[in-house]
Symmetry: D3
Subunit: 129 residues, 6 copies
């Protein structure tokens, strides 16, 4: 059962970023190794794998939330990439981030857009859409 959740979570996480789970596991290995497993099982396995919403819409929800919170730059970077990996276009993401100016203020939108610019340039360098 646990194994199912973990595998399902891993599969979902890898669709967002092929090497994401490995990077997360490595980053947490020394300080909180169990958290890696809990995140894969709960966040990716229980929640993000649910069939009620397509991955693209889920990523738009996450990108919006992280932009509004404004204090989760590494995660916003991950999810901007993830959103593009599951089918969003750069133009769609820019629309979402611009819209955040209305709800979370102009600074929140600008800082997310500056990060998006970096993400887009990194992807250009890798030949990614």
């Amino acid at each position: 059962m646990e194994e199912t959740r973990y595998r399902r979570g891993l599969e979902t996480a890898r669709k967002l970023d092929t090497e994401g789970p490995e990077r997360l596991e490595a980053a947490l290995k020394e300080v909180a190794p169990d958290l890696y497993r809990h995140i894969v099982e709960f966040a990716f396995g229980d929640i993000l794998s649910r069939p009620g919403l397509d991955p693209k819409t889920r990523e738009i929800a996450t990108v919006s939330a992280l932009t509004a919170l404004g204090n989760a730059q590494p995660q916003l970077r991950f999810h901007l990439n993830a959103a593009l990996n599951v089918g969003s276009t750069r133009a769609e993401l820019a629309e979402v981030l611009m819209q955040m100016a209305v709800y979370a203020g102009v600074p929140a939108a600008l800082n997310a857009l500056y990060l998006a610019k970096e993400v887009f340039e990194e992807r250009d360098a890798k030949g990614l859409s």
Copy 2:
């Protein structure tokens, strides 16, 4: 030109909630009457009317942001209704709010779901989907 922005904003706002603009205008009439017009023109006319994203996706972005911020209950109420008015289902919104437990914490998700429950009951009473 201004008139175009205002009319376009009004049209977009009314698709989210037919009586929304009138209620906002009444609420701001005495304290900040000009802000009503700026919100219709900028938020609804400039941003939410842009063609790059469909209204349903825009509302999911907004609902996610307001849930994550956690301090905008009246606006979350408005946008849960708006999301349903432009075609989201209750099940989809519940998925979005559940997902916020991962990114903004369990309390943020729970408080948004408690509000959604109220919104759904109010809509039941009015015979709305």
Copy 3:
């Protein structure tokens, strides 16, 4: 395995508030029934049941975080009660909340203390410590 997590979570949750799980289940039944189970399994079963920290210290951590966030009054109410149920004293909780004035500002501390006052009065009425 899942069953183990659920039962462990339920046991941990009931130590914090005997009727807490039932109330949560009822509150989520109509809008997001699965989330109830995920919260019991992940929050209470995976995290709060971990042996590395005693329940009293865990509640102090939670009360501090919720006070600092400032937008999770229902959850702060639950955890002020939970902290007292697992052995904190009212005086200790007041110390924690006062301390938040330094880190999250005077308003955050005051609003949490006003809520604590209500919680203490409710417990007086029930003859609880």
Copy 4:
């Protein structure tokens, strides 16, 4: 020396709201009586009494911060009144709150303006400017 800080703080606090200190003392009496004194001495005596900024400007800074934080309604209510008591006009406060739409988002500005509307009506009922 302490006595000086307390008296200076009390004097500054009373200029903002004649009965403010008494209300605060009463509210904290049972849960955190010492915090009352620390707030009068530190917040009002050490900081708000400093000569480097006039009371009106200080209140505008506070009102802006509380509006942006969005989770301190009782304190925003106090400081909207305080701002008017030390010489701000309602129109000036409305300008400040409108401006917050740019920096903290439209919901933060709207919720502060709805509160300002209540404050203004309460003051009308008391014949205050």
Copy 5:
């Protein structure tokens, strides 16, 4: 009409930072070019150009809000400079930031003051007040 808002916004923005609009335009050119114009028209043209509050007071409101939010360092840097450019003194800004320790907590005040120190040093190097 649009042209009037844009020109008025540009004029107001340039009083805060002569090269500010050009830098913003360049930063957004590739990711969200329209947002540049919306910010000039709405934030600077509609709101910050309103006659009801002098530019110095407006900047104090903005600096306070950004300090309290704590997640908008680039914008706080801009507005600390802008405040000085429209007539605030460094001592006044330090008063405002110190005051934020009361309302948003000591960390928020400290981080804003560390940034202010950098801004002041950069201005020293340029021979600016």
Copy 6:
């Protein structure tokens, strides 16, 4: 009296970090010298020196709050060190930070854990526990 508060604050602050007060004084010397003294007197002397809670519990409360706020990295770094200096173990701190995933979201917990990893490595290099 003031002198008592200052000395008591200094003593408490030095238990958390021997050189902490000197570093804070130096950092604020040019921008807000008085704030250094107010922080020592109020934060460390009035609040953190209170006998009602042991230093280890106080640091856990602070670390939790700063993790939840998510925008106070320099202060979280200080208090992770302080917590270890007054007797917490790295494992206990990791538990606290993991727990924040539940209340403040996975990103807040991850970013605090990434910082903790850096702090632990710095302490390894200095031969500290």
